[in-house]
Symmetry: C2
Subunit: 458 residues, 2 copies
């Protein structure tokens, strides 16, 4: 490994677009989470796929680690250069290359953010639905297999990435997939790179599936006496085939935090927020059917919103929930967990988790994309208190083990990064070795985001 030789060669190649300023290195050494500052040795700002290919050739030759970077919103430290080396920042590769309304797809560079894409799409009547909350880049969302509130209806990045252009460890440029809506022509390389967290290649272009902007939308919030009631309402709604665009769970603690922060007065019990997309009549029918199901499971205090303004008010509450939770314990820092279980085990998982949280005595409100069986708790700790840090880590660990015991996964949407590496063996067994074999075959020198998904030396 000769990082400095690689960095010298890269500054030859990129000139001022190879940065070594302390502020730049620090900016690319931070994460949204509790991981320590991990500045890389340099930050590269390529303008083109060809340049990314040259960067990879240089780094591979010198065995210098390479880590892709979008806007740094990932929650598990995916983009931290834990072995040093070069961060490749895709800020300058942010063009929307081609929108094809007839095919309902779009070709973009990896540095385009989802919000920029949707602003650009407004006039077309189409939109890109995957919404992880943060205004992440589409390259980063693909690399981490992001999803969010709309996955229950529109799927995750797995379902919405049709094809990719990828630069491999040795600098080769490949294209995966075609613009046809389906294909049986060999291995699904697109799916292999989606969620690979930059460990198999750098994504330099994406072809994404778009969806028609719904003619009508209807949102609602309703209260439940019990978690089981809320979850069973979700299960029955899915079984009835009622197409929910979003269905979010907030527990009693989360609701109280929201009330305090947003000045609302929801009862201090579990709530569901739902949204339906479609034609006026379809949405009205879906809303009514859901209402009936929810009431059968003890739902009360319905608040329906169909105007854009009212819906915005409702979803603002959800979008601000994270800040509301933080504010509920001033000065605290949140350790955000992310597990996903089969829906039949969701009520059990949430109930056990809340009991577990209460035992620790640390506040940890719960939010969930319950249509997917995915939920998060924001464990609110006093960072200066090592006991709380340890208790929070232990709590998070028990949540992951609980998810595995219930047939689920240790990460529904945040990814492995650094935070979940310790669970790969428990979740995948020998399949983890297969991942290691694939990594070894495509990146024999281990230069692509080393230390992620496949631990060094594994």
């Amino acid at each position: 490994m000769n990082i400095s030789a690689a960095v010298d060669a890269l500054s030859e190649l990129l000139g001022e677009r190879l940065s070594r300023s302390k502020s730049d290195l620090d900016n690319h050494g931070r994460s949204e989470s509790h991981f320590p500052l991990t500045p890389p040795d340099a930050v590269a700002y390529p303008d083109s796929t060809e340049e990314v290919s040259q960067i990879m050739k240089i780094c591979n030759e010198h065995e210098c680690p390479v880590v892709g970077w979008g806007v740094g919103t990932s929650l598990e430290g995916h983009a931290l250069a834990v072995k040093g080396g070069v961060v490749v920042d895709f800020t300058r590769m942010n063009k929307i290359i081609e929108v094809s309304p007839e095919d309902m797809d779009v070709r973009v560079q990896p540095g385009v953010t989802r919000e920029d894409l949707n602003v650009d799409l407004r006039a077309t009547g189409l939109f890109f639905p995957v919404d992880p909350g943060a205004n992440a880049t589409l390259g980063g969302m693909a690399a981490t297999r992001a999803s969010g509130t709309t996955a229950v209806r529109y799927g995750t990045m797995r379902d919405n990435v049709i094809g990719l252009e990828v630069v491999l460890a040795d600098g080769r440029i490949i294209r995966t997939g075609t613009r046809a809506r389906k294909s049986s022509a060999g291995y699904d390389l697109t799916a292999m790179f989606v969620g690979s967290e930059g460990t198999l290649g750098l994504i330099t272009e994406l072809t994404l599936r778009l969806h028609g902007q719904p003619m009508a939308m209807s949102s609602a919030v309703c209260a439940f006496d019990t978690i089981d009631g809320a979850v069973n309402a979700v299960i029955e709604t899915i079984q009835m085939g009622i197409p929910m665009a979003r269905i979010e769970f907030v527990d009693a603690a989360g609701t109280q935090a929201v009330n305090a922060y947003s000045g609302t007065d929801f009862p201090a019990v579990p709530h569901l927020l739902v949204e339906f997309h479609g034609s006026d009549s379809a949405v009205a029918e879906q809303a009514e059917e859901f209402g009936e199901i929810a009431r059968e499971h003890g739902a009360t205090n319905f608040d329906w919103a169909t105007s854009e303004e009212d819906r915005k008010r409702l979803w603002d509450i959800r979008h601000k929930a994270y800040y509301a939770m933080l504010a509920s314990r001033p000065g605290s820092r949140a350790i955000v967990t992310d597990v996903c279980v089969p829906i039949s085990r969701l009520a059990e998982a949430v109930t056990e988790t809340i009991a577990d949280i209460e035992e620790t005595g640390i506040p940890a409100p719960i939010l969930g994309h319950v249509g997917d069986g995915n939920f998060h708790s924001a464990i609110l700790i006093d960072e200066t208190n090592p006991d709380e840090r340890a208790a929070a880590k232990a709590l998070s660990h028990r949540m992951a083990e609980r998810a595995l015991r219930l047939g689920g996964t240790v990460t529904g949407e945040h990814g492995i990064g650094m935070g979940k590496l310790g669970y790969m063996r428990a979740e995948h067994g020998e399949a983890w070795d297969v991942m290691g074999t694939l990594k070894q075959s495509l990146d024999p020198k281990g230069v692509l985001n080393p230390g992620k998904i496949i631990p060094q030396g594994e």
Copy 2:
């Protein structure tokens, strides 16, 4: 390579469940297509995953080719043991292990056929939607990434396989995926094995996503003056977000063949068959919206069917279309093509193809899953006429090249097998080498279905 040593060891292991009878070998040397009889050296009938693992260990040790077998309905010779060796027939592994109505999924062994599964599911209100036409096994459908008429609404096997149990070349048994509806925990191995045609491992168990049986269904057939009219009606229907459960195209020649075979009297022009699934009112609304769009594009002669009986009558026509086409040229054999293009290029692709067909003078009616941009022509040749064979092959070749030129794929749903291997470089470029690298890393001795997807020595 020592096939006989492997076969001896296998008959030790399996006794009478290792067959070498000529009839059995011949039955497993046939395909639905024009490929010559290719009997394997032996046929193994394992009872369990553990036995499949032992079979693989023996064959890997002796470098004996192993080819998985469901019911032999694949159309590109996927299951032919072109290098000799052992066919592993999953007939005895045909149990439905566990249906989970709350999670809307099911665990099955690979030898279960889709029709058997759906019969078993009737009482649950759920069904498995992927329908390639033939009553294939679910293991075979996963291995070939099958789809069919319902993919436009429910997706392909890629979208409906949640997890797998796979026996690797060296006999290791791994599990991919979890029963959670989504996960970001590492590489998507499930997607890598789906569509790998038995070249990376043998599927010994599948977890499949189920869907709710729709409350109401409505089907229609309508006539169009032009192909463009039919295709543009499809494009606009998709853009409007009207959820079609099925939308099938039949060209003028196909319609005439159907009339002659089924005694119908549809006008000799292109037709669309559509189906909508949902609640009574949703289906009624969708049907009306589609009708308006279709009429704007020149649709006439609407025939709507909502009762099960009437819908069955309509879809019988579609399901018998293949036989109708064969009957339209008595004594002929069909070479069935399978291309898929971006929908924006579909009208162009079909129109050019029909002109091309007319020039050859060989009858070749066209059927298509137009919601996906996927269409087939049944090239009806007199097998005893070498000129026709050559002309048909040339026609099929031009169709594949046309699909690639238009940004599509040489196979929408039939797979590579033997028939499409020659197009892998043209479709994937260097990405084909990546597939070879993956194959080499997981099957270094090349024992898993050699000669498929990755040519020997490539």
